[in-house]
Every structure is written in structure tokens, then in C-alpha cells.
């Protein structure tokens, strides 16, 4: 059966149902990237999908692999609570460590907040740009209305100026619209990147503690 990329990835997701969500997402991301890279290499979408192989077979392989590594992972996870508890007890038991730990925690919180505010500022700026774009587009519309207004009173030069102004506004607003879209796409991608970086940093720290 010929499948497109999304059909294949949906099928893969369905075949993987029951595994931890993180594992499913990771696998789907990996195969999405593989299909995209093949397409970038010049293959048609359905050929790129076909080259990967049937979703059911791939899912079966991932399941087999997960079954092998799972016991090890569970052993590691079981160790976590004990060691974290030890650290907490140590911190609570020592008058020096508690304020230090609290300070570190607050610093991390402030850093996260700063990142969040900065990211929100980017989007607010974008919204302002979009608003400006709408205003300019309104200007283009006004130019159009202006033609008829000038013509109805017999003012030809006025109508010509109105056409010119309207066209300039229309051009500007289209340009700005594409610019905004481009920036929005970049902002969205970098948002995902920042989120993943923060997540992986926390995970690494958690693993180190365990």
C-alpha cells in the first residue's frame, strides 16, 4: 500500500500504542526526520516512506528492543527515590545546606522565568508587527475608497495620488505579512528547541542525582 508521510507516522504510532509516550514520540520523530531527509535527497514522498519499510515491522522491532532494555531502566528508576531521599535528608539535617539548596532552587526558578518572559516578549513583538500589518492593509483599502471619493467630486489628480498611496500600502502590507510569518515560524521552532534544551538539562540533572 502506498502511504504518505503522515499516514505512515500515524500507523507507526498506532502500532506502538502501550509503550511509554516518550518512547513513541522519540521513534516517530526519528522516522519523520528520516523520511524528510530522503525527500530532501530527491525522493518522492511515497517512495521515501516505502524505503523505510512497513510500519508494523518497524514497530515490532522497536517493541522487541524496548522489552530488552526495560528491566535495566526499571532497576535504575528504582534507585532514584532512595538516593533523592538521602539527599533531601542530608540537606534538611544540615543547617548550611538548606539555605544553599533553597537559593539554588530560587535561582533556577528566576532563570526559567527570565527565559519565559524573553520568549513571550518575542511573541508580543510579533503581534505588534501583525497589528501594524493590518493597519497598513486598512490604508490600502482606504486608498481604494479614496479613488471613488475623489472621482465623484471630479478631482482626477487626487484619485491618481490615492491609487498610488493605496498600492504602496498594499505592497508594504504583503511584504510585512510574509516577514511576520517567517519570523513566527522561526520563533515557534526556537521555542520547541528551548523547551527541549531545558527538559534535557533537567533530565540529566535528575539522572546525576540518581
Amino acid at each position: 500500500m502506498r502511504m504518505n508521510r503522515e499516514q505512515f507516522l500515524t500507523a507507526l504510532r498506532e502500532h506502538l500504542a502501550g509503550l511509554p509516550q516518550e518512547d513513541i514520540d522519540r521513534s516517530v520523530d526519528f522516522y519523520r526526520e528520516m523520511i524528510d531527509d530522503r525527500m530532501e535527497d530527491g525522493l518522492a514522498e511515497c517512495d521515501a516512506v516505502a524505503a523505510i519499510g512497513p510500519a508494523a515491522e518497524i514497530a515490532a522491532q522497536i517493541r522487541a528492543e524496548a522489552a530488552q532494555t526495560k528491566p535495566i531502566l526499571e532497576k535504575i528508576r528504582q534507585k532514584h527515590p532512595l538516593k533523592v531521599w538521602k539527599i533531601v535528608l542530608l540537606a534538611l539535617g544540615s543547617p548550611v545546606w538548606l539555605p544553599l539548596l533553597l537559593t539554588a532552587f530560587l535561582l533556577v526558578l528566576v532563570a526559567l522565568l527570565l527565559v519565559l518572559i524573553f520568549y513571550m516578549l518575542i511573541w508580543v513583538t510579533l503581534i505588534v508587527f501583525y497589528a501594524a500589518d493590518v493597519t497598513i492593509a486598512a490604508g490600502a483599502l482606504a486608498g481604494l475608497v479614496g479613488i471613488f471619493a475623489y472621482l465623484s467630486v471630479g478631482n482626477l489628480p487626487g484619485a491618481v495620488v490615492s491609487v498610488g498611496a493605496g498600492l504602496v500600502c498594499a505592497g508594504l502590507s504583503i511584504l510585512l505579512f510574509f516577514g511576520c510569518n517567517w519570523m513566527a515560524k522561526k520563533a515557534q521552532l526556537s521555542g520547541i528547541l528551548i523547551y527541549r534544551k531545558i527538559k534535557s538539562r533537567f533530565k540529566r540533572n535528575a539522572e546525576r542525582m540518581g
Binding site: 526526520e33 531527509d37 532494555t69 521552532l189 528547541l193
Partner: protein, 106 residues
């Protein structure tokens, strides 16, 4: 090639493919394919295994308006390649032993 032997070699090949500069999944497959049969579904568990063993790290970066994962070798990964190179001398002498025995039979 024997599956067990191939499995061990593939790990080293993947590490070798990212040794000089970080690389991404499809490029790694293209680099290894002339030497050893490898597909996406073979590469995926290898990458995960090497990541868990801290022989490589993963970083996501933007490429052509989408996200792509780049794999970076670690010190531990470089040591694994070095260990393999040292093992190779041993394997060579084993190979000579095997072929010598083979010739005596004829």
C-alpha cells in the same frame, strides 16, 4: 555476515561516522552503507544504546524549517573506537589461526 559480528561492528561504524564531525541519521546511514548493510530500523536502536552508554550525545537543531537531531561523539565514544583498534590486532591473529587450520584440512 554473522549477525553477532555485524552488531558489534555497527556500533563502532556509527561512532566512526560521527568521530570527526557531528552527523545526523540519514547521513550516518549513507556513510556506512558502502561497507555494511544498515537501515533506519537498525540504526535507531544503536543510536539509543550508544546514547544510554554515554558514547554519544544528541542535540536538536533547526534545518530547512524543521528539526533535525545531530549526534556528537563523547570521550567515552572515542575510547570505544580506540579499544576496538587494539582488539583488532588480537582478531587478526585469531584470523590467521583459523585460516591456517583451514588450509591444513585440505
Amino acid at each position: 555476515m554473522d549477525i553477532q559480528l555485524k552488531r558489534g561492528l555497527l556500533d563502532i561504524c556509527v561512532l566512526a561516522a560521527i568521530k570527526n564531525e557531528p552527523s545526523y541519521g540519514y547521513q550516518i546511514i549513507k556513510d556506512i552503507k558502502p561497507y555494511l548493510e544498515i537501515s533506519e530500523s537498525t540504526l535507531y536502536p544503536i543510536l539509543r544504546r550508544l546514547e544510554t552508554a554515554e558514547q554519544l550525545t544528541v542535540q536538536t537543531a533547526e534545518h530547512n524549517g524543521r528539526l533535525r537531531k545531530y549526534y556528537y561523539i563523547t570521550e567515552c565514544g572515542k575510547k570505544r573506537i580506540e579499544a576496538f583498534r587494539q582488539d583488532w590486532n588480537e582478531i587478526l591473529s585469531i584470523y590467521q589461526f583459523i585460516t591456517r587450520r583451514g588450509n591444513e584440512d585440505e
